[in-house]
Subunit: 151 residues, 2 copies
Amino acid sequence: MPNSTLEHEAFARKLAGSGLRSTPQREVVYNVLMQKRDHPTAEEVFTRVRERRPGISLATVYNCLETLAQCGLVRQVNLEREPTRYCPNLLPHAHFHDEETGAILDVDLPASLLDKLKVVLPRGYEASVIEIAFRGRARPPLSARRTVQSA
Amino acid sequence: MPNSTLEHEAFARKLAGSGLRSTPQREVVYNVLMQKRDHPTAEEVFTRVRERRPGISLATVYNCLETLAQCGLVRQVNLEREPTRYCPNLLPHAHFHDEETGAILDVDLPASLLDKLKVVLPRGYEASVIEIAFRGRARPPLSARRTVQSA
DNA sequence: GCAGCCAATTGGAATGATTCCGGATAGCAA
DNA sequence: TTGCTATCCGGAATCATTCCAATTGGCTGC
């Protein structure tokens, strides 16, 4: 099962790789992100985490998210001027931002496309990160709709 | 000469096209952006504009920038969590963000590449805007360097 | 040319996401 | 245990940006 939640062990190892500790708070924050991968904001993560760990503070949630981003377990997603969102999908992907609903969709990027992208950079410019965001409307085909149409 | 500053006339016409007026403040803000196309922040635009128009307020600069973005004369550029920057380059292009210097470089995007990008979207998703940002280091080849190397 | 009207401008206050700070805790090491 | 450092915490501070209410400016029709 790809992209499944890391075991405690693997989680701790990943953090240790950056000289960081695994803590209950960090683990809960990570699990919350993995459970509902809808690109929540820090505030949203906070309310979800509090259900499992009522004592946790917002500052800690920010710290944990920052820490997880540092060691590469999650990705920060900045769209427009909106609050930062968090994404545990580590595969190379772009984001589609639905202007109507605000929903964010991960869009897989083939390696071939990434290669073509790097080529547009002038000589001497080397990118360690490429961020791609689409903005527009989603008009899913009928076959993909789950909602019942009014008769 | 492509991309040259618009004449008052053309400037006013472009604004009028969105039902907006040309005002001295808007014109100065626009001219400042055209004169030094280094992706300044609103605050930077403010200090530059004040040299020509000491009375202008920061609120007005924000308003003007917003207005110019609305009618398509400039583009807002959001990188990471930094303050919004403004760019009068209307051709389709990406941005390269130098991690060391903070400098931002416009990178032209061939239409063919944009076509390939749109293809990665699932059926029913239509993007009106595609934003691409590279982050990394610039290591210009010697032949392109202007600074004198120490002997 | 003048009254009326709406857009634009302005300074200052408010907002809101995020960071900072100083002290309390907790887990590991000796 | 004692100490040491990383982590956590609540609250204050930051800072880009937006909001607001009041003024100004520029047309439109008379």
